[in-house]
């Protein structure tokens, strides 16, 4: 079963994308985008995993132990915090769109010059 985490990541990506396509509510779109983003975290941490490896904290284990790859963990941990602020930016856009157009249905949004 060496393929399971990647299969789950692909599934989450496609399901999240489906949620974005069929949504009638812009807030739902943003939350499904969060699911799509988290599928990439799963891929990255899964790629770095080493069978029998330990967490890369060498405070109490000798350095020659097998450790999992720390580089991908750096990418994912900064990514999680940054994507939260990007989600905030998208939700600010949704709030302003609601003020302007009166609805948050993506089909009701028109060009600003209307």
């Amino acid at each position: 079963m060496g393929f399971l985490p990647y299969a789950i990541a692909a599934w989450l990506f496609v399901v999240g994308l489906w949620g974005i396509v069929v949504s009638r509510n812009l807030v739902r779109t943003v939350l499904c985008l969060t699911v799509v983003q988290s599928s990439t975290y799963l891929v990255l941490v899964g790629v770095g995993y080493r069978a029998g490896g330990k967490a890369p904290i060498v405070a109490d284990i000798p350095v020659v132990e097998r450790l999992v790859d720390p580089t991908v963990q750096v990418l994912v941990l900064t990514d999680i915090v940054i994507e939260a602020t990007v989600t905030a930016l998208l939700l600010a856009l949704v709030v302003q769109a609601h003020k302007r157009f009166g609805s948050i249905d993506p089909a009701d949004l028109r060009a600003i010059s209307d």
Partner: protein, 256 residues
Amino acid sequence: MTRRARLMLFAFAGPGLAAVLVIGFAGLPSFGDYHGVYGHVVTGIELAERHATDIVTALNFDIRAFDTLGEEIILFASVTGVALLLRPLREEEEDEDSEDGGQEAPHVFGGASDALRTISAPLAAFLVALGAYVVVHGTITPGGGFQGGVVLAAGPLAVFVGGRYLASRRLAPDWAVEAMDAAGAAGYVLMGIGGLVFASIFLKNFLPLGSPGHLLSGGFMPLNSIAVGLEVTGAFLLVWTEFLDQALVMREKGGS
């Protein structure tokens, strides 16, 4: 685009995307079978070279500090975008009667139970202490600026949850939040310039390394961690107060 058009496009593109993903992932080595070289090198040399026991934080704030600078700038830019989008517009004003805190004022959460109101103030103090601990001890245990910054920002939020939004605004006023955000971003760049001045390489570790396992180990890594922690705290508090201001305090001019 109407919903129908979107669905038809997805019916066409979705299975193609799924097939490409499956074919791509099938080419990867099996889960747990690690082929990379960089990971082996870094875990072998890090403790001897940088004296930090948390390898992930050492990568974040020292060995790959330049990537963290890029991430910080992304954070700063998106928070500036939020503040710009949610600024008070011409046709908005602050709700006058929400300042006096009458019984019906929306910013006082009337449904807060006694347990919540009692525990929120000590919880805020505890969260600030825990956040500071996580930020400063990033080089020794799992933690660092990014994680600890969010915990620190949750302190004033605990006061809001207890039912007093304006009190939480006094705890974290606008000028302090913006100053923290800017100081964090600028502090990180100043650390980089310090590396340029004292060690002739931008973001090179120029402070004495100390002994691993102690608080002041790792050279300038704790300082970087504090700078990032300040920035993340300021960023999250700014975003939360912007949204909560919009939801609880602002209304359109001329309304009832």
